[in-house]
C-alpha cells in the first residue's frame, strides 16, 4: 500500500494500521467473552467424567457417573416434575396472556391503563417478595403446596411476559384482515382459526419459549411454593449443594446441554429446510 500511494501513503497506512489493531483487539475481546461464558460449562462437562466423588480436583476419566445416572439416580423424577410444571404453566400463561393481550389491544375500558401498567409489577418486583406473597396466599387459602401451587406460581410470573410479547407482535399487525375475512364470508370462528391464529403463531411460539425457559430454571419462587412430595430439578440440585454435589449432577446437566444443542441444531436445520422449500415453492396453481 505504502509503495502505491506515495503522497498520502503515510496517513493511509496509519489509518490502516489502526484498523488492523482494532480488528485484532476486537477478536481478542470476542474470544474473551466466549471463553468467559463457555468455560464454566466446559468445566461442568469435563468433571462429569471425573473419577472422584467431589468436584474439586481431577482424578481420572470414568463413565461411572453416567452409568449411575441412567441406572440408580433419582434425578430423573425431579426433571419430570420440572417439565410437568413448565409445560402446564406455559399452556396456562399462554391461554391467559394471549387473550389478555388481545383484550388490551382491541378494547377500550376503564382501568385499562392501570391494568396495562400493573403488568410490569411481577417483572420488576424482587422474586423473593413475589415468592413470599404467593406462599402467604396459598397458606391463607389453605391451598396444598405441590404441583398446582408451583404451576400457578410459575403461571403468575410468565403471564406478563406473554402479554408483553404478544402485544408487541399485535401492534405490528394490521387487524383489519379480520374484518376482511368476515367481509369475504367467513364467520368469527373460521376467521379466528384461518386468519388470527396463524398470524399470531410466531408470537405464541416466542412467548412459549420465553415462559418455558423462565419456568424450568426458576429457583427462588419455586423454593417458597414447592411441596414435600414434588420438587423441581433446580431446587433438588440446590439442596444437594449443601451436602456436596456429586458428579452425577454434572452428568445430568451434560445430558441436558447435549439435548439442548441437538435441539438448537435440529431447529436451524428444519428452519433452513422450510425456507428452502418456501423459496423453491414452484407449486403450480394452474
Amino acid at each position: 500500500m505504502e509503495a502505491v500511494n506515495q503522497t498520502t501513503g503515510t496517513r493511509l497506512s496509519k489509518r490502516l494500521r489502526r484498523q488492523r489493531a482494532g480488528r485484532i483487539w476486537g477478536n481478542i475481546f470476542a474470544i474473551a467473552v466466549f471463553t468467559f461464558i463457555y468455560i464454566p460449562i466446559a468445566m461442568m462437562v469435563l468433571f462429569s467424567f471425573n473419577d472422584q466423588r467431589t468436584n474439586y480436583y481431577w482424578n481420572g476419566f470414568t463413565f461411572e457417573w453416567y452409568k449411575y445416572l441412567f441406572t440408580e439416580s433419582d434425578l430423573w423424577g425431579y426433571l419430570v416434575v420440572s417439565l410437568i410444571v413448565a409445560v402446564a404453566s406455559v399452556i396456562l400463561s399462554l391461554a391467559v396472556g394471549v387473550l389478555g393481550a388481545m383484550g388490551l389491544m382491541r378494547f377500550e375500558f376503564k382501568l385499562k391503563k392501570l391494568i396495562s401498567n400493573s403488568l410490569y409489577i411481577p417483572i420488576v418486583i424482587p422474586e423473593v417478595v413475589l415468592g413470599i406473597s404467593l406462599l402467604m396466599l396459598f397458606e391463607v387459602a389453605h391451598f396444598p403446596l405441590g404441583y398446582w401451587s408451583m404451576i400457578l406460581a410459575h403461571t403468575t410470573f410468565c403471564i406478563p411476559f406473554v402479554v408483553i410479547i404478544m402485544r408487541g407482535r399485535m401492534a405490528g399487525m394490521d387487524m383489519s384482515v379480520e374484518e376482511a375475512s368476515m367481509d369475504l364470508g367467513a364467520n368469527r370462528i373460521t376467521t379466528f382459526f384461518k386468519i388470527t391464529l396463524p398470524m399470531l403463531v410466531p408470537g405464541i411460539l416466542s412467548s412459549a419459549f420465553m415462559s418455558f425457559t423462565l419456568s424450568i430454571d426458576d429457583v427462588i419462587i419455586t423454593n417458597f411454593v414447592t411441596g414435600p412430595y414434588a420438587t423441581t430439578l433446580p431446587i433438588k440440585i440446590l439442596s444437594m449443594v449443601k451436602v456436596g454435589l456429586k458428579p452425577e449432577v454434572n452428568a445430568m446437566t451434560t445430558v441436558m446441554v447435549v439435548v439442548l444443542i441437538l435441539g438448537i441444531l435440529a431447529n436451524s436445520v428444519v428452519q433452513a429446510m422450510l425456507k428452502k422449500r418456501a423459496s423453491a415453492n414452484k407449486k403450480t396453481y394452474f
Binding site: D174, S176, V177, E179, A180, S181, M182, D183, L184, G185, A186, N187, T190, K194, I195, P198, M199, N281, K282, K283, Y285, F286
Partner: protein, 361 residues
C-alpha cells in the same frame, strides 16, 4: 328506474356522544359508480362500514337489494370491501388470498381454480399467484385486494380510499383501471375518497359530505357547475365566494351587497334581504381597471404565480381574503399593486343561499 340496490333511510350513528351520521338518506342505483366525498371526519367511511356490516347504525334502515341488513353479520351480506390498507392475509399467497372467499363458501376446487385464474387475468396479475403480499408493490397489492373482493360476485363493491397509499402516477393509472373494471363488470361501486379530483374522474354521481350530512348529491358536472352549498363550492375545485345580502331585484337580476362591494347574479328564487353567496370559478372571473356597470367589487393585485397549466393572479380583497383569477395566457396589462375591478357574466355565477352567520366566515 328500477329499485335502488342500496337504500339508506334515516340513518343515525353515534360514537358515544359523537353524532357522526345525521339522519342520512341515500339511494344507490344498480350499476352506478357513486363516490362519497368529503374531508376526513365527515362520516364517509362510517357509512361504508355500516353498509359492509362492520359498524351498526344507531337507528335507521339499510337495505341491500330490497332486503334489510341491519341485523345481518358482515359475512352474511352480499357486499364486499376493498380496504384502504389492502388488508391482505400476510401468511397466504396471492392465489390463496383471492380464493379465500370461495374456500370459506366451500366452492369445489376446480371451480375455484378457474375463477382465480379469471380474476388474475382481470387485474393483470397472471404469474403472481405464488407470491406473498410482502413481496409485492402497493399497486400490485391493491389489485389483489380488488380481485379478492370481486371473485365473490358482490352486488355492491365498497372501496374505502383504495388508492390513498399509492403515488400520484400510479393513482391516476389505477383510477382509470378501476373505472374500466366497473364498466366492464357492471357492478355497483361505492367509493370513498377525500380527493375531489379522483371523485370527479371516476364517478357517475358524487355525494359531497360534511359533518355527517350529504350536502350535495349529483353528477360531477352538476356539482362543479352548480354547487348547492358554500361548502361544496369551496371543496370542489377552486371558487371565489363573495357573500352578502340581496339588496335589489330588477329584470331577473339580483344585486348583492358584499363587504367588498356590489355584485350581480340571476335572481332565481332569491328575495330582497336574503343571504347569498356569489360563487365564481377563477377561470371565468373577469377584471378591468374601471368599474363595470352594476359591479363595484375591487382589490389590489397581490401576486402573480405560474402554476404550470395556468397563470394565477391573487387579488387581495382585504387582510384575509384573496380572489383568484386563472388564465392560460399571461396578461401584461397590470402589475402588482394595481387596483382591479371584478365582474362576471350572468351565466358564470352561481348564487347559493346562505345563513346570516356564514357571511363573514
Amino acid at each position: 328506474m328500477s329499485e335502488p340496490i342500496v337504500k339508506i333511510q334515516h340513518v343515525d350513528k353515534y360514537f358515544g356522544e359523537n353524532h357522526v351520521i345525521k339522519d342520512l338518506n341515500l339511494e344507490i342505483e344498480e350499476g352506478e359508480f357513486l363516490t362519497l366525498l368529503g374531508p376526513s371526519g365527515c362520516g364517509k367511511t362510517t357509512i361504508l362500514r355500516m353498509v359492509a356490516g362492520f359498524e351498526d347504525a344507531t337507528n335507521g334502515i339499510i337495505e341491500v337489494q330490497g332486503e334489510r341488513v341491519e341485523d345481518k353479520e358482515a359475512y352474511e351480506r352480499d357486499v364486499n370491501t376493498v380496504f384502504q390498507s389492502y388488508a391482505l392475509f400476510p401468511h397466504m399467497t396471492v392465489y390463496d388470498n383471492i380464493a379465500y372467499g370461495l374456500v370459506v363458501k366451500k366452492v369445489p376446487k376446480d371451480e375455484i381454480k378457474e375463477r382465480v385464474k379469471e380474476m388474475l387475468e382481470l387485474v393483470q396479475l397472471m404469474g403472481f399467484e405464488g407470491r406473498r403480499p410482502d413481496a409485492m408493490s402497493g399497486g400490485q397489492k391493491q389489485r389483489v385486494a380488488i380481485a379478492r373482493a370481486l371473485i365473490n360476485n358482490p352486488k355492491v363493491l365498497l372501496l374505502d380510499e383504495p388508492l390513498g397509499a399509492l403515488d400520484l402516477q400510479l393513482r391516476k393509472q389505477m383510477q382509470i383501471e378501476l373505472k374500466r373494471l366497473q364498466q366492464k363488470l357492471n357492478i355497483t361501486f361505492v367509493y370513498v375518497t377525500h380527493d375531489q379530483e379522483e371523485a370527479m374522474t371516476m364517478s357517475d354521481r358524487i355525494a359531497v359530505m360534511k359533518d355527517g350530512i350529504i350536502e350535495h348529491l349529483a353528477t360531477p358536472r352538476e356539482i362543479y357547475a352548480k354547487p348547492r352549498t358554500k361548502f361544496v363550492a369551496s371543496f370542489i375545485g377552486e371558487s371565489n365566494i363573495f357573500s352578502g345580502h340581496v339588496t335589489e331585484i330588477e329584470d331577473g337580476i339580483a344585486t348583492v351587497e358584499t363587504k367588498f362591494g356590489k355584485g350581480r347574479m340571476p335572481a332565481e328564487d332569491f328575495k330582497v334581504g336574503d343571504v347569498a353567496h356569489l360563487c365564481i370559478r377563477p377561470e371565468v372571473l373577469q377584471y378591468s381597471k374601471e368599474p363595470v356597470d352594476g359591479f363595484s367589487i375591487s382589490g389590489q393585485v397581490k401576486n402573480m404565480i405560474f402554476v404550470g397549466s395556468v397563470h394565477r393572479t391573487l387579488i387581495g380583497m382585504d387582510e384575509e381574503y384573496d380572489a383568484r383569477i386563472n388564465r392560460v395566457k399571461y396578461d401584461t396589462a397590470y402589475n402588482e399593486g394595481d387596483t382591479l375591478y371584478l365582474h362576471w357574466e350572468m351565466e358564470d355565477v352561481t348564487g347559493i343561499h346562505g345563513q346570516e352567520d356564514e357571511i363573514d366566515a
